[in-house]
């Protein structure tokens, strides 16, 4: 009886925990589909988190806060874009540097904001539906950002697979030389994709600091940017699978918290490891299917492009 009552909150918390991952992973998925590997997701999330938080505290408007977070994430990613696309810096090294840069920059910006509480977003309440047992709160009692993240999944899918712009973006990621020969602006398309990825990572970070936790602490993303990167591979570059992956990871995160709460005699460090262990395991399982990776992975992922070469 008691166990059943727990399932509702666990489910609800799972969707919330999955939301920052989903934002960041969808953004990175579009970036990678265009052939760019941006390992700086963690850094962009942190910058988004602190900027969103700071702006919300200053203005009192969460909408302004989220807009600022998206803008800050995109601005951070533009640094990466300029370095890798136009100055032809190595994408892996630049991405790693971007993460380190984001950790430091966010800590600097956030100095005056540590310990300030924030209210978080209002939760939806639909009389009747939200009160449904087990699934009511999970499906009808979330805040707007959770729904936005889920709504972004079909939108990204439709964009990639049903619009001409999406087709061009996939073509650029598949074979940038051929796309260039057909007259597509490879660098411009990639630049826009990287900006989108940055904005989405910024939103994901802001969801953490403005809503999920809600407060600012240094390094508060605690590796979620890396998980988002892994999710993209896990999803074999498909938006719907990225959502399932985010839910799985969110679910394991929440579950291990509850297991700790129940006082089961397992070292808590081991339990905290679980979500990451699950990610590694799933990645290993996915990587065994070489064919699927080869068919979905953008063939030009991480390769530098120079129009005159």
């Amino acid at each position: 009886m008691n166990d059943l009552a727990l399932i509702g909150p666990i489910l609800a918390a799972m969707f919330a925990a999955a939301t920052p991952l989903l934002f960041a992973a969808l953004g990175e998925l579009v970036v990678e589909k265009s052939g760019v590997l941006n390992l700086g997701v963690e850094g962009m999330m942190l910058v988004g988190a602190v900027c969103g938080f700071a702006v919300t505290v200053q203005t009192g408007s969460a909408v302004t806060g989220f807009l600022a977070a998206a803008f800050a994430g995109a601005a951070t990613s533009s640094l990466f874009a300029v370095l890798t696309l136009f100055l032809l810096a190595n994408q892996v090294a630049t991405g790693l540097a971007l993460t380190l840069f984001g950790v430091g920059l966010s800590a600097l910006i956030g100095q005056g904001f540590v310990g300030i509480p924030l209210e978080g977003l209002p939760k939806l309440y639909v009389p009747g539906l939200t009160d449904l047992p087990v699934v009511g709160q999970a499906l009808f009692g979330q805040d707007i950002m959770v729904y936005l993240a889920v709504a972004a999944v079909p939108l990204v899918h439709l964009f990639l697979y049903r619009t001409r712009a999406g087709l061009v973006l996939r073509a650029v990621g598949e074979n940038h030389t051929a796309a260039h020969a057909l007259g597509y602006k490879v660098l411009r398309i990639r630049f826009l994709a990287v900006l989108f990825g940055g904005a989405m990572a910024g939103l994901g970070g802001a969801f953490l600091s403005m809503d999920y936790t809600p407060m600012w602490a240094e390094n508060m993303t605690s590796g979620r940017g890396w998980i988002a990167l892994a999710l993209v591979v896990f999803a074999t570059w498909k938006p719907v699978r990225a959502m399932l992956g985010a839910w799985l990871f969110g679910g394991v995160t929440i579950l291990q918290l509850h297991v700790q709460g129940l006082g089961i005699d397992v070292p808590s460090q081991l339990l905290s490891m679980l979500p990451y262990l699950a990610t590694v395991l799933v990645l290993v399982l996915i990587s065994r299917d070489v064919a699927r990776i080869r068919l979905n992975a953008p063939a030009c992922l991480g390769k530098l492009f120079h129009p005159d070469a």
């Binding site: 087709l167 074979n175 051929a178 020969a181 070489v290």
Partner: protein
Amino acid sequence: MPSHAETFPPVALPPRLELRGITKRFPGCLANDHVDLVLQPGEIHALLGENGAGKSTLVKMIYGVLHPDSGTMLWQGAETTVPDPAGARRLGIGMVFQHFSLFDTLTVTENIALGLDNAGPMDQLAGRIREVSERYGLALDPGRHVFHLSVGERQRVEIVRCLLQDPKLLIMDEPTSVLTPQEAAKLFETLRVLAAEGCTILYISHKLEEIRALCSRATVLRAGKVVGATDPRQETARSLAEMMMGAELSTPERPPQGAAGAARLTVRHLSTTSDNPFATNLKDVNFEVRAGEILGIAGVAGNGQAELMAALSGEALLADTGAVVIEGRSAGHLGPRARRALGLAFVPEERLGRGAVPELSLSENALLSGYARKPLVRGGMVHFARARAYAETIIRGFNVVAHGHRAEARSLSGGNLQKFIIGREILQKPKLLVVGQPTWGVDAGAAAAIHKALIDLARSGAAVLVISQDLDELFVLSDRISVLFHGRLSDSRPTHETTVERIGLLMGGLFGTPPDEDGEITRAV
């Protein structure tokens, strides 16, 4: 300044395209030097020249990928500039690239949509693709993914993409280098229909027989300059080649083969399985190569050549150690170095990246495979003076045009690098040499030199295996020819007992059903 003052009679149609004094300079080289070219409506016009003569640069400028430094372009009599490929397509210029500009994981329809500026909804486009492909005899299934398609089918995708825009000028860059003779014959029919409908075709190829059969005019480029214009039907392949080279062409002769020696390479029941969905698995491949002979393996790219090459060189290790026997020793489990020690040398198809390290100098590249059989390393230390001397020997012996042994491999033209790599292997006096695509993208002069070197090696007692898509080459080189199709290898036939038609049919997969002797199949050229 040549005079362009002549005016056309008012009734005559202006040329479809006229280039006047087009010049393009790259750092360190003048790629096009005041090139003039006139293309009339409905003609099939050949653009000839050796590698590096400036053909690609010129057509890229016509298609708007590059921009001329100076010179004017007249489209149907009106001066114009082509800012980008989309601008070229708006004028009515279509181009089929030598290296296809296709996207493997997208469908045929998606690929074609990418090359159209007004693609419209996908299902309607699929209908238009079916229509055009039927009208011109270019069978295509719009829903298939490109990686499933054969090379010939991929080219059809490119052509249909151009045709959907009702082109007035179609540029074809080396279109038949990857086709079987029968596929090429079908392509020529399509091109002739197009030309009859008034479309101008600018045709780039190094297969001179083809040009003589197909084209009514030819413009010859050498070192960026127009050196001649001619009617190729009045020329011989030899005279065209000499026009391109500006020198006399010496074709190698294959002296009759002596008695075949002992088997140097024996392949028995070689089968492979791969995780890679783009790979072709080999299925029960059997053959042997004897001392003193050249065995040619024909086949359209993607039929297992890369896999066979990897299995022979040791890049892919085999579970069945007896599947590859070199000099009587089972070698299936041995890596490349161990196989080299048994007397194998190999020249992979991919020159930059497999055959040579692009960023290393020629002497370092000479060292990389040469140290096994030449005293270039002593006690783990490189003997640089000897490596340099070895590189210089190769450069002199094989007429490699390069800035000495210090030149980076990637700075050489394809033909010169290939001469260097083949020289590096031959000078090690291998007992067995395996070569993939020895003259792919290599001009006539260098190709003749490479062919001569391979024949000389075989006649000096080595066994030589040549895997190539170029049938003319295999007929020049080989004592026996086999065909690789979908991972299976046909029995070999002595070259003098078979014909291009028969091998062409085998390349299309007709194993075991020999055609009539007089052949109902029309020759490609």
